[in-house]
């Protein structure tokens, strides 16, 4: 599997510009060591999807992503037959005799993410994103695939994985997942990062950002998370915002520039409305003070 210890994996992730906390490094390391899928849960924007990308990059593996949505079915997740091509073939063969095998061969198969991941010769990280959005029938099907790492296509037979992909599932917890699926996977909850780590992440992801600005932005977002908001900002928002502030050439924050750029941190109008005037000045002051002492 390539990594002998958690430290080794952690160093590699850092080198790939991803700063995991110890818990996440452990989860990814165990996923590889135990060859088990890992389920990452947490608020939106804490870097669940990014973790999969980083893992693929350090493993030098291909990242195959299955974005889940309601109504996702086998035809879109696993495979589908290429009907236009089959029809053309039927037309062309009208004179001769046509056997069923001719029509349902690999050349008529459209391979979707799950089949791609199972039937691959190169190393693969399979990201099953937002599994909580798919419906329960699909979850049951997925459970089967993740137990056996094989897929049966009635016309072609069973395709078994020659090398097991590393599997990362993510969920925003819009609903509870099936126990059976959870039993199959390691579980890691990703919370918001500590202030130091968030500053480090911002400095890593926003090249050239002044240290002071990174610290103030992270501290301000932290203040926001303490409010009663519809959608508290995640790390992704902190990065976007720091990028915007940096692009404006700011070295530190003040009430005016926060006011102008608040839209890249808060995504709901009612949240933006809640952070105005005195609240806004108060948070800016608190953030500047925290950054100055920290």
């Amino acid at each position: 599997m390539g990594f002998q210890s958690i430290d080794e994996l952690e160093d590699a992730l850092r080198a790939a510009d991803y700063l995991p906390d110890r818990g996440l490094s452990t989860a990814l390391y165990l996923a590889l060591a135990l060859s088990k899928p890992v389920l990452l849960e947490g608020e939106a924007g804490v870097g669940k999807t990014e973790a999969a990308k980083a893992l693929a990059s350090v493993l030098d593996a291909r990242l195959i992503r299955l974005q889940c949505y309601e109504g996702l079915d086998v035809a879109h997740a696993v495979y589908e037959w290429n009907y236009p091509r089959q029809l053309l073939h039927i037309r062309a063969a009208q004179e001769g005799t046509l056997r069923e095998e001719d029509l349902f061969g690999p050349e008529y198969l459209i391979r979707r993410p799950l089949l791609e991941a199972i039937d691959s010769d190169e190393p693969v990280v399979l990201l099953i994103d937002e599994i909580d959005r798919a419906d329960e029938e699909f979850e049951a099907f997925l459970l089967e695939v993740l137990s056996d790492f094989q897929i049966t296509i009635p016309e072609l037979g069973t395709i078994a994985a020659r090398r097991r992909p590393a599997v990362i599932l993510t969920s925003n917890r819009t609903r509870e997942l099936h126990d059976a699926l959870k039993r199959r996977a390691l579980f890691h909850w990703i919370g918001h990062p500590s202030i130091d780590r968030e500053i480090a992440i911002v400095r890593l992801r926003v090249p050239g950002v002044p240290e002071r600005l990174a610290a103030e932005a992270a501290a301000f977002v932290r203040e926001l998370r303490g409010l009663d908001l519809a959608k508290p900002p995640g790390v992704a928002e902190t990065i976007d915002w720091a990028m915007a502030l940096n692009a404006l050439g700011r070295k530190e924050i003040d009430a005016e520039v926060v006011q102008q750029t608040l839209g890249s941190v808060l995504k709901y109008r009612e949240d933006v409305d809640a952070v105005q005037d005195e609240t806004l000045s108060r948070l800016v002051e608190a953030a500047r003070a925290a950054a100055a002492t920290g």
Partner: protein, 379 residues
């Protein structure tokens, strides 16, 4: 391998401790935990902690419990006992309600299981209109099956998923190709697919504070039956706080579930905090889109102790996400009732349907409303 044996013993016992604390720990999990510990450096406490947590816990709301158990077991730190062990001592104080429930359960155990539907038509009619507050434990037991039947009707919505259906609206190309082979490539047969209906999400928030006690029992039977109809139902109880009830209702008998959650969410002597409970729901569960597109059923008499305005604000948030809001208020069963309580008045503008729910007949009405409800409020 003495060290290995010691670890094995530790982990197995720890698994048992967690199991007793209410976590589901099967032998498979313990085996995973051992394999994980085998793969990491045992010198580093943090790594041991995460290895055990990631293999033994699978739900966010179990993390607290795990942390307490971990520090008690591996760090030998003094810990507060988990909340649920306290119940034995404190439930004693609620002698009235508790002994009633005990009596009902005893009656159930020794009384032969006569079909409650064989009550005789007149007896049934009487029960149907009797206020829940006036029911004896025995009568309530006899209502159980009737309540279950009522709860079985679930509102539906269109799924995005299509299944084969001869009256469908989309061509099933895969089947058509396959069948056309028999006819030498001509698509004589045109199989169709249609969207099917699936139950709409239902979220129930039930007030179990003192003023609701006599109704909560009957309504909880109803909830128990609704949760039994399948997935997509979430139930919560609230008083001064909010607590998720779904797992209890799915596995335990409704009386025990009610006793346990009342314990968790009600502070005796302090009133109901509807607004704060709704806010907790919106913050923790609404943010996870639990209420999005759902029918939200609130069961409460609308007595808000603290801040009626908060009730209004949180109801507005809830209404934006929900498909429809139904409020059941047992007091409405009284013809003289007027929604004067501040909390109730603040909530009503956001309520799509306002129903009594004080007796069996009104539960039937509720079931009918749930089955046929349409979104009425503006999004």
């Amino acid at each position: 391998m003495a060290a290995g044996d010691a670890i094995l013993g530790h982990v197995v016992t720890f698994g048992r401790v967690l199991h007793e604390a209410g976590l589901e720990i099967g032998p498979g999990r313990v085996a995973d935990a051992l394999r994980a510990l085998d793969a990491v450096d045992l010198e580093r406490q943090e790594d041991v902690y995460f290895s055990l947590r990631q293999t033994l816990v699978s739900r966010h709301d179990e993390l607290d419990l795990f942390d307490r158990a971990f520090s008690a077991w591996f760090l030998r730190a003094p810990v507060l006992p988990p909340a649920r062990t306290r119940s034995a001592a404190t439930t004693e104080t609620r002698v009235g309600a508790q002994s009633d429930r005990l009596r009902a359960r005893e009656a159930e155990e020794d009384g032969e299981q006569s079909d409650p539907l064989e009550l005789g038509a007149s007896g049934q009619e009487l029960l149907r209109d009797k206020d829940f507050a006036e029911l004896t434990g025995d009568e309530l037991r006899r209502l159980r099956e009737l309540i279950r039947r009522i709860a079985r009707t679930r509102p539906e919505r269109h799924s995005r998923r299509r299944t084969p259906d001869s009256r469908g609206d989309r061509l099933d190309v895969r089947r058509m190709i396959r069948r056309s082979l028999r006819a030498g490539g001509d698509p004589l047969d045109r199989p169709l697919r249609a969207r099917k209906n699936v139950p709409r999400k239902l979220v129930v928030l039930c007030d179990v504070s003192g003023s609701m006690d006599s109704y909560a029992r009957a309504l909880l039977l109803f909830l128990h039956a609704v949760v039994g109809t399948g997935r997509g139902v979430e139930a919560f109880a609230f008083g001064t706080r909010l607590s998720r009830l779904t797992p209890d209702l799915a596995t335990r008998d409704p009386d025990a579930a009610l006793a346990r959650c009342t314990e968790a969410v009600v502070d005796w002597g302090s009133g109901t905090r509807i607004g704060a409970s709704l806010r907790e729901f919106n913050e923790v569960y609404g943010r996870r889109a639990l209420s999005r597109g759902a029918i939200v059923l609130i069961v409460s008499d609308g007595w808000e102790r603290e801040d009626p305005e908060l009730v209004g604000r949180e109801m507005a948030k809830l209404a934006r996400a929900a498909y429809a809001i139904v409020w059941v208020n047992p007091l409405k069963g009284n013809p003289q009732y007027q929604p004067l309580a501040g909390g109730m008045r603040a909530a009503l503008p956001y309520v799509d349907r306002f129903l009594p729910g004080h007796n069996l007949r009104s539960l039937e009405e509720l079931a009918a409303v749930l089955a046929g409800i349409e979104r009425r409020h503006a999004a």
